[in-house]
């Protein structure tokens, strides 16, 4: 800790000043800039004091991954290379994090699935790697279009999972993500997800912090497990490794290790609340009708609320920012007055609706939908239509044959 703090106010080789993270993110002046989501990822990493970034091409994250390469060429990232597959890349990220580096990578859809074996390993090894997931379809036939199904697979890996709505979220959360996931009592990897294309390939006004200010570097000696750099004494751990011993001590060791990972996810809660200003955002929580969503479905929900207002229907909103840690108490509180809860999602199974149903009392209030998938957009009209149908109101036909 002392080592990191003492660097604040000093400069790195690029002339950026290591800045107190709270000041950097809350007090430093912001410049409005018109960027694509991919460019915003680059700008966040420029300020993140990253040691190693490992890249692999897969739509829709290829542009961001290549832009980080430009940062490396400019000297803002310690090392950078293209791995041979997502499975290998996530293992290379693990190797770099075991060696005490601050690590960044990006992936999407089938890449997330190919790399999946690594994620519980990252969490189990307590590696605070940050991975951007620009969600896309994982189904066959092949699809490259937006679809958030892959997030469902990340929820039980022991990683922190956040779901950004906008490019501004992305910019801030990349930097805040490192602060939270590198806390000694957390020290877990973060999957920072967004809806591919909608966020990565569209331009938006994003308020950027000054380019000459950056996060303090990662201090691997604050890790709860030893950094594998032979700078602290090695120990011979045990006569009999626990891997395949069929005895109580072995089971108990594995059980307590897993429990500790999930306890660390829980301990990230207070840090996430502090840095993200709560795990959820809310509007009109006194309304009878609530929309609960994450990612760009939040934006569509907001638009649907405006349209419903025009028709005299009052509707509230919950934006879920963190999926792990899961904002159980917050969602219960925000939906306690709701008679109907709608959960619009960009995937076929409705994993968010299932999580919410498992969280709140009287879960029959949850309407799992509307769902779009396979790259379909979600016009706010279909949210409006879903809500009006459920309320028994007359609604127009969407892309149908007329009614």
């Amino acid at each position: 800790m002392a080592e990191t703090k003492s660097l604040i106010g000093t400069q790195n080789t690029k002339g950026q000043t290591y800045t107190d993270p709270w000041k950097l993110l809350h007090e430093a002046p912001r410049t409005p800039s018109f960027f694509t989501g991919s460019e915003v990822i680059k700008e966040a990493i420029r300020r993140a004091s990253c040691d190693v970034m490992i890249a692999y091409p897969i739509t829709p994250q290829s542009e961001a991954a290549a832009l980080i390469g430009e940062l490396f060429a400019e000297g803002y990232v310690g090392d950078y290379f293209r791995g041979e597959s997502e499975f290998a890349v996530m293992s290379q990220c693990a190797g770099a994090a075991f060696g005490g580096a601050r690590v960044f990578t990006t992936t999407a859809g089938p890449g997330t699935m190919r790399a999946m074996e690594n994620f519980p390993m990252w969490a189990g090894a307590r590696l605070p790697i940050q991975m951007i997931v620009t969600c896309r379809g994982i189904n066959s036939p092949l699809s490259i279009q937006p679809d958030t199904l892959e997030i469902a697979y990340l929820l039980n890996t022991g990683m922190l999972v956040w779901h950004a709505e906008t490019a501004q979220d992305f910019f801030d959360w990349i930097l805040k993500g490192y602060i939270v996931s590198e806390e000694p009592e957390v020290h877990l990897p973060l999957a920072l997800c967004c809806d591919g294309f909608f966020v990565t390939h569209t331009k938006d006004v994003v308020n950027l912090t000054p380019a000459d200010m950056c996060l303090p570097p990662y201090d691997p000696y604050r890790s709860p497990v030893p950094c594998m750099d032979m700078e602290c004494p090695p120990v011979r751990m045990m006569r009999d490794p626990f891997v395949m011993k069929s005895n109580y001590i072995s089971y108990a060791t594995h059980a307590s290790w897993q429990q500790e990972i999930w306890a660390a996810v829980e301990r990230s809660r207070k840090h996430s609340i502090h840095w993200l200003n709560g795990l959820i955002d809310t509007e009109n929580t006194d309304a009878d009708i609530m929309i609960v969503a994450s990612g760009t479905a939040v934006s569509q929900g907001r638009e649907a609320i405006r349209m419903l207002e025009d028709e005299g229907v009052r509707c509230g909103l919950v934006k879920v920012k963190t999926l792990r840690p899961w904002p159980e108490e917050e969602i219960r509180e925000a939906t306690k007055n709701a008679k109907h809860i709608f959960v619009p999602e960009f995937n076929v199974t409705g994993w968010l609706a299932k999580e919410i149903r498992a969280t709140i009392p009287n879960h029959h209030r949850v309407h799992a939908g509307p769902h779009v998938c396979g790259g379909m957009t979600m016009p706010p009209e279909i949210i409006v239509s879903e809500i009006k149908t459920a309320l028994g109101m007359k609604t127009f036909s969407l892309a149908g044959r007329g009614s």
């Binding site: 190693v52 499975f87 005490g100 690590v103 390993m121 700078e231 090695p234 490794p241």
Partner: protein, 303 residues
């Protein structure tokens, strides 16, 4: 890591585990001429293991750990298999993460250590079985070599999956009857040493671990070349006596039989030109050092 860093506070000395006290008292960290001859007097980097009695892999582990030129700044990467039963007892930082991803882990690790410790030597050594190296991990084994990653890959070749009970592996001999090869293996032993050479390794050796002095030589060469030039590969025969129907005492003879000139573990070596040059330079320096030491000793005697 300097040896000072492992010192124990006097006040806490008696409550430290005896393993750790041994490490401080007698580890050969920082010793220029450490090697297999230290085995017996210095066993601090590995003492016990949980392999089968007489397993040649345990011999190989001892020879390798005694021979590493720079254990105080070496990080090892393992994989799933019998080797992962030994690593918890190795007093050099070591990583196990998944099955087959060892060369990917080592690639990231070596780069992180280079970023964090510029100008300092940090060696990375991969040690994994033949299933991990050649079957499930072949992609990452080769890609690390293509990229010229600067670390050593050691494959303990026992020609089968030992830890899961003796199934067919890519390095198994053709015709061998094993689990998952019920009518005998149908294709040849994968020629990884040749593939390693074509894939960009600067030093490749195929041999058994019957001679500790030979293991010491190839380990030192492989680590030095990987540190300065590029990837190196050692394929060491560590027969699984259990699965080939031998007794505990027969491992050494099995290796000797398999290293005869016509056999599959006859000594085979490839050294690239830049690696040859480096080895010549290292040999010249070593000669100089020995001559200086001799002169110093002669002077001392004369005085």
């Amino acid at each position: 890591m300097s040896k000072e860093r492992i010192q124990i506070s006097e006040a806490l000395y008696d409550i430290m585990p005896s393993d750790y006290q041994d490490l401080v008292k007698s580890a050969t960290y920082g010793k220029d001429d450490r090697g297999w001859k230290d085995i017996g007097t210095s066993k601090e980097l590995i003492e016990q293991h949980s392999l089968c009695a007489g397993c040649p892999e345990s011999m190989a582990f001892r020879y390798i750990l005694a021979s590493l030129p720079n254990p105080e700044d070496t990080v090892m990467v393992g994989s799933t298999g019998c080797t992962s039963l030994v690593f918890p007892m190795v007093a050099v930082h070591n990583i196990h993460s998944l099955f087959g991803n060892q060369n990917a882990i080592a690639s990231g690790l070596k780069r992180a250590l280079s970023v964090r410790f510029p100008g300092r030597v940090k060696d990375v050594v991969v040690l994994a079985g033949d299933g991990a190296t050649v079957d499930i991990g072949l992609d990452m084994t080769l890609q690390a070599w293509f990229r010229q990653e600067k670390f050593t890959t050691i494959c303990f070749d026992n020609e089968l999956y030992a830890n899961t009970g003796g199934q067919e592996s890519g390095l198994m001999q053709k015709g061998f009857v094993a689990k998952m090869a019920p009518v005998g293996k149908l294709f040849d032993k994968v020629r990884l040493p040749e593939i390693a050479r074509e894939s960009g390794c600067h030093y490749v050796v195929n041999c058994t671990v019957s001679k500790p002095s030979l293991v010491e030589k190839v380990i030192r060469n492989a680590v030095h070349i990987a540190r300065e030039i590029g990837p190196t590969y050692l394929q060491l025969y560590t027969p699984c006596i259990l699965e080939i129907g031998k007794n505990s005492m027969e491992g050494l003879q099995e290796m000797r039989d398999s290293e005869k000139p016509t056999e599959r573990f006859a000594y085979k070596e490839y050294i690239s030109d830049p690696a040859k040059q480096l080895l010549a330079e290292l040999a010249a320096k070593d000669k100089e050092r020995k001559a200086a030491a001799k002169q110093l000793a002669a002077q001392a005697q004369a005085n």
